[in-house]
């Protein structure tokens, strides 16, 4: 190894090298390790905040009960699991809506606004066209929410496609415009009342499995399955992947990039709009003022879903798991706050933040590996030895 003496620059102790595509085993291993670290930090947090009065076992069993119900108690389990299912399905639906846009490297962080517009459109039908024949009204509700969501998604897409307008900032701003429009209708309908009452029962979406939101769960899951095949098996899905990898390659291959961008965002916005419409028609039966956090049309999932879609790497199965994890954290910490006053305010979001940071940071080890100095040397040595023996 006379070469090493000639190198003027000292090799750093550790350097970063890119990996190829991570193997499934590695992905699962890294995710499991990230979750383990998150669990550790959360446990320390719980112990410190609980001041020793809250045992870890107790805390986690409370979180479990808050998400899946008290084990053995059929009634509690049924209530909790249905509730978890609808919110997880909704989060899954928005994540699924974002997947094609993200795969195209179009940063649609406007899902919140697209959901709001869809929900609002449906609400207008329920409020002003309640006397239409029911089947006609239901169809109308579904059509307008899809169209309004799609419009809200297409506007930034057109500007991105023709003038390269920054879509992250554009879609972000569109959220707030949508919320203010909804506030306008909320205040107008509310009039002098202190809050907007629910719409008349005749306008509600039909219920399924004894739950008003039964159809929502079914439709959201069907959408997820359809999107999986759309992205994996269709020509349009392939075009999205090519545009996402390199717009220039796509152009060279004869793909109309503008058309793909606008079409994909129309789909993304339409699904968000449908999610909003169904939430209003079948679950909330009302709209809420945007400043009130609870029972809004979106539940804030327009933002949460961005994290879900990205962490799942556009994999539908992964999205289901992460959506469930987020539900466990949201509902579980809610229950924790009910049981122990120390966790009543904010603690839930802190723990969600910790878990997300761990998963986000852990993803590094899927795409990169650390190369230590000593290790590289011995490897090089092996190589030269092999070469020598070959000669």
């Amino acid at each position: 190894m006379t070469d090493s003496g000639k190198h003027a620059v000292k090799e750093p102790f550790v350097r970063i090298a890119k990996r190829g595509l991570p193997s499934p085993a590695l992905s699962i291993g890294v995710r499991a390790a990230s979750l383990a670290v998150a669990l550790l930090i959360c446990s320390i947090y719980i112990l410190i905040v609980g001041r020793g009065e809250v045992s870890l076992g107790n805390a986690f069993s409370q979180m479990w009960n808050g998400t899946f119900g008290i084990p053995g108690n059929a009634r509690s389990m049924r209530i909790m699991m249905w509730d978890t299912a609808i919110y997880a399905a909704k989060l899954l639906c928005v994540s699924v809506a974002l997947a094609p846009a993200f795969k195209m490297k179009f940063w649609n962080i406007g899902a919140e606004g697209q959901i709001v517009m869809g929900g609002l459109a449906t609400a207008i039908i329920m409020h002003d066209f309640g006397d239409l024949p029911k089947p006609l009204m239901l169809v109308l509700m579904l059509v307008v929410c899809v169209i309004c969501g799609a419009i809200w998604g297409v506007i930034p897409a057109v500007f991105k496609a023709y003038w390269g307008t920054n879509e992250t900032l554009f879609t972000l701003m569109m959220n707030y415009v949508a919320m203010k429009i909804m506030d306008y209708f909320y205040n107008m309908w509310k009039g002098k009342l202190s809050a907007l009452p629910t719409f008349p029962k005749e306008t509600w979406f039909p219920s399924l499995f004894d739950h008003s939101y039964g159809w929502n769960i079914v439709i959201f899951i069907v959408l997820a399955i359809l999107m999986y095949f759309y992205l994996k098996k269709t020509k349009q899905g392939y075009e999205i992947a090519v545009v996402g990898d390199s717009a220039n390659t796509a152009r060279y291959a004869g793909i109309n990039v503008r058309k793909v961008i606008i079409r994909t965002m129309a789909i993304s916005g339409a699904i968000c709009g449908l999610c909003g419409g169904l939430t209003v028609a079948a679950q909330n039966h009302s709209i809420a003022y945007s400043a009130e956090a609870v029972h809004t049309v979106t539940s804030g999932y327009g933002f949460t879903a961005i994290i879900v879609a990205w962490l799942a790497n556009f994999n539908t199965l992964g999205m289901i798991l992460i959506a469930l994890l987020i539900q466990f954290l949201e509902k579980g910490t809610g229950q924790l706050g009910n049981s122990f006053p120390a966790f009543a305010v904010g603690a839930g979001n802190v723990m969600i933040g910790i878990v997300l940071f761990c998963i986000i940071g852990g993803a590094f080890f899927m795409n990169y590996r650390l190369v230590f100095r000593a290790k590289t040397r011995s490897k090089e040595k092996e190589k030269t030895e092999v070469r020598d023996s070959d000669a």
Binding site: I16, A17, K18, W107, I109, F159, W163, G164, T165, N166, T168, L169, F170, L172, M173, M174, Y176, V177, K180, I181, D183, Y184, F185, Y186, N187, M188, A291, A293, F303, T304, I306, I307, W310, L311, P341, A344, V345, G346, A347, G348, N349, V350, M351, I352, G353, I354, L356, F357, I360, G361, A363, F364, N367, Y368
Partner: protein, 336 residues
């Protein structure tokens, strides 16, 4: 009439200072190519810790010292927020995580941490606590007397009738503009945000600049949160206050675009946003009558104007009006 307009301007300025701090922090961060969507959360953190520390200080001392009270609020807000910025940079620069995702997670985390920390300070069963002493210091207007004429009163109210943080904000904005335009370090920082590969080849430490800009930027944004509680919100903290800061935090992100990434534009831009925000309350000045429902639409104006600026600057394609070219992209030296 005059007093109505004066009170509108005063409110707009108070409002503007909050988002000016947030937008200055975000501008510095974005100049390094990091888009920190965690700014609303970081402002919440700054508000909670700035308020909390100075509140604990004045509750536990018999004769609180004015200088210490201000210093504790500002230093705590700055340091804790800067740490949050460092965490963001650790995830996005060192671990190369996606910036949008990390930023949104930071906003969730930050608002949670703020509410959580605030709850620890509030005695149980109380909704709002006030840092009375610090509030007095922050709202104290400048000791300028211009006589008793009508013009003099107006000038006094508009230019000197505010707490010291307004002047601090303007000084920081001017200093930041000089730093970015006239100093070598500022040039290097812009190079990192425009083209990190070239900056790297020129021997500039991309990592160092990103860390410094993001951390200091987050610290400055955090000061906006502290100002929100101690002046704009009359010194009172409640769990709802965190939501208020978060809403303004998104406006701060909008303001950065509106000002096309120039600190000097932030000064008038923030007051303009303030006027727009409070327009619904004072629209009677123009002889227009509005229902409370219609005023919700007026609140959308700042966002619509921001969208318009974004569209116009992208259609015009003037090079000096564009976002930093590498905004939102992680840099990896071995990837070309």
């Amino acid at each position: 009439m005059l007093s109505t307009i004066l009170s509108w301007i005063t409110r707009a300025i108070l409002f503007g200072v909050v988002i000016m701090f947030g937008a200055m922090g975000e501008t510095l961060t974005e100049k390094s190519g990091n888009m920190n969507l965690g700014t609303p959360g970081i402002m919440c953190i700054g508000g909670a810790f700035g308020f909390g520390c100075t509140y604990l200080y004045e509750m536990n001392t018999d004769n609180p010292n004015a200088f210490l009270s201000i210093a504790i609020a500002l230093v705590c807000a700055f340091v804790i927020s800067a740490l949050a910025g460092t965490l963001f940079c650790l995830l996005t620069t060192t671990l190369r995580a996606n910036q949008n995702v990390t930023g949104l997670a930071m906003t969730i985390f930050g608002s949670g941490l703020a509410k959580f920390f605030g709850m620890f300070i509030i005695p149980s069963g109380v909704v709002t606590v006030k840092a009375v002493f610090a509030n007095k210091l922050f709202t104290k207007s400048m000791p300028v007397e211009l006589g008793s004429g009508k013009v003099a009163t107006v000038i006094e109210e508009v230019f000197f009738g505010h707490g010291f943080m307004l002047y601090v904000a303007i000084v920081i904005a001017i200093a930041m503009s000089v730093f970015l335009k006239r100093t070598r370090a500022g040039l290097n920082l812009r190079a990192v945000g425009e083209n990190p590969a070239t900056a790297d080849a020129a021997g500039i430490s991309v990592t160092k600049y990103k860390y410094l800009a993001t951390s200091v930027g987050a610290g400055i944004a955090g000061l906006g949160g502290a100002y929100y509680i101690l002046d704009y919100n009359y010194g009172g903290w409640s769990t709802g206050a965190a939501g208020g800061i978060q809403a303004l935090g998104w406006l701060a992100v909008a303001l950065v675009i509106f000002a096309i990434w120039r600190p000097l534009n932030l000064i008038w831009g923030s007051f303009l946003f303030g006027l727009c925000y409070w327009l619904y309350n004072y629209i009677g000045v123009f002889g227009v009558r509005m229902t409370s429902a219609q005023s919700a639409l007026l609140e959308a104006i700042p966002y619509l104007v921001t969208i318009l600026v974004l569209i116009i600057s992208s259609i015009h394609k003037k090079r000096e009006n564009q976002p930093p070219a590498a905004l939102g992209l992680a840099y990896f030296r071995e990837e070309r």
